[in-house]
């Protein structure tokens, strides 16, 4: 099938290209041009044509928590948000620690033919931090990396061995740095706001101490390690230094943490109950700056559908997480505009840079690359209301906000999978 996307503003973050032009698609891939007439032409005048977004953290709630969301609803949300590839963390029920589960998830996702799904396997059995999973079997089943999601390994011996074992096969390990003992029963940044609201706090060094431990292990094992959901200024500095040292590390930040801070908790707004917690304004500014200077490689949605029953609870009892697949693009655009970044650099953090971390060929518009594309109107704004969201998760701190950037068309492997 030959597809022509005509007259759009083509933005390719990988090459820095940003110009009005046409994009030719043939057999699911971008091509330079073709002689014959296209079977389908999309008029992209006034729209940005960019690589589809690659989201390194989106929970689809399958298997096990279909009452919160289903693959159908969340894959709809993904493509409605212009996300064409997503990595899903292993904290499903049961966790993704067996090849059968991974295989089923991939088959189900494939049958829906919307976004591409990249499962991240569990690093330890049941995420308990005790026994290693069969990583090479899981990799055969399709796992692209191994992770503990939000469940840190407390036994450093196990973490060390898990990283060594993964390094044996060249598997990347994705870790969220949090010292569980220091995090304790905390639910908010240990600072003025938590003190005023009487919420148990998580000190910022719960992150930096765990990060320091993990960086030492990276140094020793050489494991390619991606640090997930940075939340503190100190961690950004540590990653910057680690990269300068030449360690094989990368990292991401949840897009919420680029825009929000502890003050947004207001009067116990449980939509701001997130993991890691929203931290100080200083931390937020350092995250936004780190994302701009490339210390932080990617922004992710950290999409976590939570049903209302689990959010309509006192703050500490509410389930952490927010819906995000449909907000990633607008919130990244908002961040880029606030920092006056060129559009190509803004989008790089959710396309080409994420593709590099994931090790995939998408995330770029060049001959031979998969034709995963998003066409969006950068000027049209829309208001975040529950009814506007395709995701079954309606909880987000951004309810009521006006968002820039309306997705018009999403294309995966040359097929139109979403049309607004």
């Amino acid at each position: 099938m030959k597809l022509l996307i005509k007259g759009g503003r083509v933005v390719d973050p990988a090459s820095g290209r940003d110009e009005v032009g046409d994009v030719f698609v043939s057999e699911g891939r971008v091509v330079n041009s073709y002689k014959d007439k296209p079977e389908k032409t999309i008029d992209a005048k006034g729209l940005v044509v960019a690589p589809g977004l690659i989201d390194l953290a989106a929970r689809l709630r399958e298997p096990g928590q279909e009452y919160k969301a289903t693959l159908e609803s969340e894959m709809d949300a993904a493509v409605a948000g212009g996300v064409t590839s997503l990595a899903c963390p292993p904290d499903t029920h049961p966790p993704l620690d067996e090849p059968g589960l991974v295989d089923m998830l991939r088959r189900r996702a494939k049958a829906l033919s919307r976004a591409r799904v990249y499962p991240v396997g569990a690093l330890t059995v049941k995420l308990k931090g005790e026994r290693l999973t069969e990583m090479s079997v899981l990799a055969d089943a399709g796992c692209v990396a191994f992770s503990q999601a939000n469940v840190p390994i407390t036994d450093t011996q196990v973490l060390w061995r898990a990283m060594q074992y993964a390094a044996t096969f060249g598997f990347p390990v994705w870790l969220r740095a949090e010292d569980r003992w220091l995090a304790g029963d905390g639910v908010a940044h240990d600072g003025e706001v938590a003190t005023r609201l009487g919420l148990p706090g998580i000190p910022p060094f719960a992150e930096s101490i765990a990060l320091a431990v993990a960086l030492h292990l990276v140094r020793s094992t050489g494991t390619r390690t991606h640090f997930c959901r940075l939340s503190t200024a100190v961690a950004v500095d540590m990653i910057r230094a680690a990269k300068q040292e030449g360690l094989p590390v990368s990292c991401d930040v949840a897009i919420h943490h680029v825009h929000l801070c502890e003050l947004d908790l207001g009067y116990y707004d449980s939509s701001c109950r997130l993991e890691p917690p929203l931290r100080s304004q200083r931390d937020r500014d350092a995250l936004a700056a780190g994302l701009a200077d490339g210390t932080i490689d990617c922004a992710v949605s950290d999409h976590t559908p939570v049903d209302d029953n689990q959010k309509q609870l006192p703050f500490a009892e509410a389930e952490p997480g927010a819906t995000g697949l449909e907000l990633l693009l607008p919130l990244v655009l908002k961040w880029g505009a606030a920092r006056k970044l060129p559009l190509a650099r803004t989008l790089a953090r959710v396309t080409s840079d994420a593709a590099r971390v994931l090790g995939v060929r998408s995330g770029r518009i060049e001959a031979g690359a998969p034709a995963d594309l998003v066409l969006f109107d950068p000027l049209e704004s829309w208001r975040v209301v529950p009814a506007a969201l395709r995701s079954q998760g309606k909880n987000t701190p951004f309810i009521g906000y006006d968002m820039p950037g309306r997705v018009r068309t999403t294309i995966v492997a040359g097929n139109v999978v979403w049309q607004a």
Binding site: E192, A194, R196, G198, P203, Y267, S270, P314, A316
Partner: protein, 316 residues
């Protein structure tokens, strides 16, 4: 920050959730109203008809005897009907959600919900979901606030010291876990107390506590110097030995109030405690029962203050 959820469109007290964020005028209104009720409790017929026909639901998700009883007495003296619900052992244990419990009680025609909950912020959640004519009074939520306790502490201080503007007040002990401390500190700073001190070990001080407008002391003797008011906080049994403190004895040695430490405060200093007291842990018996102690009058004032709060919210 959204609008203050405690106030109605006219800026009047709709719910009492926290002392923080309440204007000085409302605090003074509550204290003055309480003063007018103080006489009632000494009369032979200890009742006024201000809340006749209204229903007060005591909704205690966390066990309490003293606070619940004083709310009950206060409501009865206002001629309200009082319904006590020990939710900790009823519907919640059957899995009913907090908001479902409240919706069910609301269907039974409540006017005032007096709520105690182990989770900080729970009364805010309830206040967001009740009907416009219903009022929520926070009787203690997690570590966050215990506003009627804070108000009765303010009432007690005003009763003995008259003027807030020249006082040094010290709050001693487990500030980290104390809703009483937070409520009192907000009240004192709102009413213009020039120096509020908190005294305790670092392990019992919340992060950034200075931002509440207090001076932090780790040396109790230095902290008590020239104080007009000393407020001792209760230390929960389960926190007396573990990662926060080595033992009750060592806590008493450093932060327990004894007569010789109290001698560093002003000669006319008053000693307060929200109760229940741990004698020999945070306070020495001779001090608790001594001439500086106003711990029992606090309990009496508590009834008048709770009458004031309930009658004011029910009237708005």
């Amino acid at each position: 920050m959204p609008a203050n959820p405690q106030l109605n469109a006219n800026g009047e007290l709709q719910h009492l959730l926290s002392i923080e964020g309440l204007p000085r005028e409302i605090l003074v209104q509550i204290l003055n109203t309480a003063e007018s009720f103080a006489g009632v409790t000494e009369r032979e017929v200890k009742k006024v008809p201000l809340m006749r026909g209204k229903s007060v639901f005591n909704l205690f998700f966390e066990a309490s005897t003293r606070t619940r009883t004083t709310f009950e007495i206060a409501a009865k003296r206002l001629s309200a009907d009082v319904i006590n619900l020990n939710v900790a052992v009823s519907s919640q244990s059957k899995g009913e959600s907090l908001l479902d419990t409240v919706a069910n009680l609301s269907a039974m025609q409540a006017d005032v919900f007096v709520v105690r909950h182990a989770s900080s912020g729970a009364p805010y959640l309830i206040a967001r979901h009740v009907k416009p004519h219903e009022h929520v009074v926070n009787a203690g939520d997690g570590r966050h606030a215990h506003p009627t306790q804070g108000l009765l502490d303010l009432y007690t201080i005003r009763h003995y010291k008259k003027d807030f503007s020249r006082l040094i007040v010290a709050v001693v002990g487990d500030v980290l876990h104390s809703r009483v401390a937070r409520s009192l500190i907000h009240g004192l700073t709102t009413l213009g107390v020039p120096e509020v001190r908190v005294i305790g070990p670092q392990t019992l001080m919340p992060a950034g506590v200075e931002a509440l407008g207090v001076r932090v002391f780790h040396d109790m003797r230095a902290g008590l110097k020239d104080c007009d008011v000393v407020v001792m906080l209760r230390l929960q049994n389960e926190r007396m030995s573990g990662p926060l403190l080595p033992s009750a004895q060592e806590f008493f040695k450093n932060f327990g109030l004894t007569a010789d430490k109290l001698a560093l405060a002003r000669p006319d200093a008053i000693v307060m405690h929200p109760g229940p007291m741990n004698r020999g842990v945070e306070i020495d018996s001779p001090v608790a029962d001594g001439p500086h102690s106003v711990i029992l009058p606090q309990v009496t004032f508590g009834i008048a203050v709770r009458m004031a709060v309930m009658s004011i919210v029910a009237g708005n």
